[in-house]
């Protein structure tokens, strides 16, 4: 009940709702960081994963990259980059992208590679070009898995962007970090609630996107 009390106090304080340190500003900052990082990670991971998956080659190299990316501690990288490069957006973006590329890369590779070969052969027999096979046959079938890869990348970005407040960036993590230093537990819990809500909203968005884009046939058989 204690936590709920703090949450209630945080959200009912009107000072938290406007201005530089207001909830709307921080929320928009947070979403902006996450979107930039996700777009960058997808721009790196998706093309590589789709093409290697289509040709079924390079899986070993991809698996190696994925393990390496996962083994790198994102928080440590965040602090290290900031010490090396200085404060700013770039040292924050690097760990976020490094964090999100492995799940996107591996799931897109694996999902395209494991598409049932018979429709792919049929498409090839009909004379479709390789690029059309990839985008019109393999991609629609692989889409649910690809989206799940993007989703886990996005969730990790949302979570790590929170921690990035430690290296002096905006976003919802500010409340948690500042609150911890100011011994203001109300602020800490309020920020944590907002971040958790944002993460759940991310899940919901991906669920909705999957509902809208995955073809009904694929959904039924999946």
């Amino acid at each position: 009940m204690n936590v709920l009390h703090f949450v209630n106090a945080f959200f009912s304080d009107s000072a938290h709702w406007h201005g530089y340190d207001g909830i709307p500003t921080r929320l928009i900052q947070h979403i902006r960081y996450c979107l930039i990082a996700l777009v960058l990670a997808a721009a790196i991971g998706l093309p590589v994963g789709l093409v290697t998956g289509h040709y079924g080659r390079g899986g070993n190299a991809l698996a190696f990259i994925a393990t390496a990316g996962r083994a790198l501690p994102s928080f440590g990288l965040l602090v290290l980059m900031t010490i090396m490069v200085g404060f700013g957006l770039v040292p924050v973006m690097v760990p976020l992208v490094v964090l999100a590329v492995p799940p996107i890369l591996v799931t897109s590779y694996e999902s395209v590679r494991s598409v049932d070969p018979s429709p792919v052969d049929a498409a090839r027999g009909m004379g479709m070009q390789e690029s059309r096979i990839l985008f019109q046959v393999e991609l629609p079938v692989a889409l649910p898995l690809i989206l799940s890869g993007l989703r886990s990348g996005a969730i990790q970005i949302v979570s790590t962007a929170t921690i990035a407040a430690y290296v002096g960036i905006g976003g919802l993590g500010r409340y948690v970090i500042d609150g911890l230093y100011q011994r203001d537990y109300e602020k800490v819990v309020g920020g944590a609630t907002l971040v958790a809500a944002l993460a759940l909203a991310t899940l919901a968005v991906f669920w909705a996107v999957a509902r809208c884009t995955v073809s009904p046939g694929v959904r039924r058989s999946g």
Partner: protein, 242 residues
Amino acid sequence: MSGFFDLPSDLQHSWLGLIGLHLREALLPVLAGLLVSLPIAQLCVRFRWLYAPVLGLTTVLYAIPSLAFFVVLIDYTGQTELTVMIPLAVYSLVVLVPAIVDGVRSVPQETLAAATAMGFGPVRRYVQVQLPIAVPAIIAGLRVATVSSISLVSVGMLIGNQGALGNLLNDANIYHRPELAVNSVVTTAALAILADAALVLVRRLLTPWMPHGTRRRAPAEAADAAEAGPEPAVPALEDTVR
């Protein structure tokens, strides 16, 4: 890089001590997660309708950012190691439950029938037939859970220096000693890779019946790397099992 291992005294640990602390904070949650997910997975195999809601619940719990999870737990468990370990255990469920369920389900029907025909009861069949066959899938899940757990412990630094090797990051900042941050990142990454390799070794020992090394176009080293990728490993391993 002078003073690479010359740690500030406020950490109250040597470098090796921090490594031990880090491993404890990272591995105990995974172990707890494994112990919890085994019965949950068995229930999901037994009652199929349970699987979807369990999967949904673990996904939702996994989505909660670690920092948010930590600070809410502070109210109950204080700024202690336990506060770091509880979320890590919860996170490991999202990987382990599907891994075990898929592994147990991948046991062929004939094998189960053969076990039953040999007079195995349900418990013995589970322990001596289903679990051993599911080992490759379970280990693949354990590897993902372990590596991400080792990486996440560092975040515990933010809630009052409970992050083992992650505490070096704070000291690097306040004492202006970047080499400490390098030390933290390199050591944590090395720990993760070593733990991963150790799990591969455990799988080799537990599954002597599986063909060693994938005899594909890849040279031996790359083949090891392929096994290092948890997601691709699962379907490939299931194929070999069948």
